[in-house]
Symmetry: D2
Subunit: 274 residues, 4 copies
Amino acid sequence: MCRWLAYTGAPLYLEELILKPEHSLIDQSLESHSGATTTNGDGFGIGWYGDRETPGVYKDVQPAWNDANLRDLAAHIKSPLFLAHIRAATGTAIQQTNCHPFRHGKWLFVHNGLISGFARVKRELALAVAPELYPRILGSTDSELMFKLAISFGLEDNPLVALERMAGFVEKTCADQGIDKALQLSVGVSDGQRLLAVRYSTEGRSRTQFHSTSMQALQEINPDLRRFSPDARAVVSEPLSDLTDVWEEVPESTALVIHRGEIQTHPFEPRPPD
Amino acid sequence: MCRWLAYTGAPLYLEELILKPEHSLIDQSLESHSGATTTNGDGFGIGWYGDRETPGVYKDVQPAWNDANLRDLAAHIKSPLFLAHIRAATGTAIQQTNCHPFRHGKWLFVHNGLISGFARVKRELALAVAPELYPRILGSTDSELMFKLAISFGLEDNPLVALERMAGFVEKTCADQGIDKALQLSVGVSDGQRLLAVRYSTEGRSRTQFHSTSMQALQEINPDLRRFSPDARAVVSEPLSDLTDVWEEVPESTALVIHRGEIQTHPFEPRPPD
Amino acid sequence: MCRWLAYTGAPLYLEELILKPEHSLIDQSLESHSGATTTNGDGFGIGWYGDRETPGVYKDVQPAWNDANLRDLAAHIKSPLFLAHIRAATGTAIQQTNCHPFRHGKWLFVHNGLISGFARVKRELALAVAPELYPRILGSTDSELMFKLAISFGLEDNPLVALERMAGFVEKTCADQGIDKALQLSVGVSDGQRLLAVRYSTEGRSRTQFHSTSMQALQEINPDLRRFSPDARAVVSEPLSDLTDVWEEVPESTALVIHRGEIQTHPFEPRPPD
Amino acid sequence: MCRWLAYTGAPLYLEELILKPEHSLIDQSLESHSGATTTNGDGFGIGWYGDRETPGVYKDVQPAWNDANLRDLAAHIKSPLFLAHIRAATGTAIQQTNCHPFRHGKWLFVHNGLISGFARVKRELALAVAPELYPRILGSTDSELMFKLAISFGLEDNPLVALERMAGFVEKTCADQGIDKALQLSVGVSDGQRLLAVRYSTEGRSRTQFHSTSMQALQEINPDLRRFSPDARAVVSEPLSDLTDVWEEVPESTALVIHRGEIQTHPFEPRPPD
């Protein structure tokens, strides 16, 4: 099981949420309590929005806890919207092209979850990727393919509908192969303005996802910090601290859209292909 | 431009041809004389047949000249049939899954060359891979796809015909996209018994390929060595030494089949799909 | 806390003890039960004796469980005497030169343990290394320095005395700096003939170390295997299986010398410098 | 032979000097014209000053031309003072701790050159490092040792005198061992305010070093760029472009101190120990 975190608010050094909190993302990569796998040592990545048109991405295949570069970069890069991901591979190769976030133009995508029976449906899913995007599939993961499918289905115009179409297409393709419980989905997506998060699973028993409800939630994580703005919000695949009462669990089959501190909640309903 | 070497004969430590000769494969990776690119620093791999059913493979993304492990392994692994490859990437990611040799069961495959306009035909080529092989495409190179296509076209039963069908299919697919000079092919393939090599290009101006003609050829490379057996033969993408007169250039559009020191020559004629 | 395994007996493929047993070394690298740290993801190494004068070594900084090369090499390399090590770093850099086994001529050295307050005594210890060996200190660990000290103190002539002199020197140097509990030592050493193992700690509460007592012990680990010879013996820093009754714990302050299946036990008594 | 570049002036994205110019540092890492070695493929590093107290550093052991992260970071990190280095190793291990820049507090250090007969004097030099700094020697290069010696000799108070004392000490130590032509030195050092550069060799035939003399020099390198400030200056170990007339060669045995566009020139005279 992977883990991820997304932040939007006043610019923060990435280290303030990734490295410094007592139960930081990196710290947790060494020891997973709620996860199915014990260790997230199969690579990591950060993606952040700055003053360029496209976001920056830094990925490596080492365990995040070993990466001296990550510590330095997280201490020097400041951003108003960033995503971080640590990977626990489930069969695919340990290589940078399989690490999250995935990027397409100004869009970033992180994911924790899986497509059941992926090897049996991979070809069918890849065929549904827009032909001009096909040669830009760089790695071998289900996550990258889900992102490319969502782009093919209109992510840049209407991200929630595109994600619902992607989920519907994956479920239909799996069902055609007799695969139950096709999808486990905990997705974070951004275009640099809005932060979207989806919690969904075919079987209705999804992996966890939490969002902070207030500035206070973040300050309780990192008490040394006074820079959290009133509109600062974070979404995490598992709570970053033991103070779980200041984090709200995202309900089953739900999409969040976070913009300037405001959190909108939408039902997430996969749209099968016609 | 990549480089490769293949050896068949009495068991040798890999280092005797990869590391020790004055103009060894590794030495040449630092400075390419005949090649289009200046440096082969984008990863390497060795594949060797031993006493297990499937051959062993060791690959890394570092430059070969930097790899302390390679030096040690090449000094300790002895094999009667091995292939070595050093990579100069032309756009695809530097990752182990893009390094040669590629392996399928007992088969190994190395390649120097390219498919012109690969991004434009990649999807079409991938669709022609046998569906059960599709999820086993691990990297993103044209070389791996050529190997998977050849397997789909019957490599395990009739390797030369399968390679000709692969070449014909690639040329046809490129032609349909208006791509000239589709293929540059310098391939080495083995099942552990026979060593096959193909030199071919659509335009009839192929990259070089040489084979040794006698035991003496190999002894001139590595004079310290007395272990070369009378049936020892090597194929290289460029001559390993300046003693080019003891190496015979493989003619254009030719396939070699080397078995127990005997070298058979066949014309190589791509077979377009029906 | 690191982990290691050493084997001596009829030649085995390394995978048979490193990868295949249910509680193999690699499997345990993901989840440590008895150890102080939770995960051994900071690199690994194997060293094996073959038919060359010096042993082969393969090391990498990735977690062992991720390394495709390790799986292939362990499946193809067969040896009558090998050591394997997986690392959990305690502050020093994650780099190949810090991975075990360390090698000097025909000698290999693996270690689990530490020198307390290492930064405070490192210079003093390095000064005691034989001047001609000083430039051959390649990494930054306490383990490599312990090995270089033991060589300086005569390891090649009398390994047990040299290790005792090393331990005595480290304890004296630490004591001079007011450092208690100077040493935790679980060492495996070999010259390709004999396998030596030392369990010792200054405070008399050493990390675990076990040795197999019979061929049966190894067969219980890997029941598929019939190739274990009557003189096969293994030493491990933690028991490889739950069948702990067939493994004998090495007593405190003890050195083992294993040769052709015979296990000699010696008290291990650090020798302070004169 | 390594290569390096240092920039001071109005904040620039690092890519504007490292990646984008036709004869950029990275481009040149593939093919060295003036250098003794053909390829700088043995790792690289960047160090930059931002709004934190200490500078950021990013290093990797891959060839710079392969590093997707470097491209992204250089496109997103903007700095008024940065150093970049690409390495061609001369015998020491390829590992991050051997990559430049080296950092100590707010100081950064890059180097191209070598200490002749380093293995014979390494121990003597290491003993002269301040004892409290000794455990902070992380790698195995002569360059890091030169930096640690300069710090030990007062770099933070008087950098030029400290570098002269370092050079004098190295020359004396080498001379005691009968080593001629002890030093080749092309150093870049900064505390985030001033940029210092030294060109020196014992034999008086030093490796090249150039500095730009005006804003125009930099604009000729990267014509797309209008952001160069009047006080922008760069120092490079080899000219970045073929437009060598706008770059001034630093004379033999000379130190530059660059501050706010003003370039002071000092003779560089090694100070032997008393």
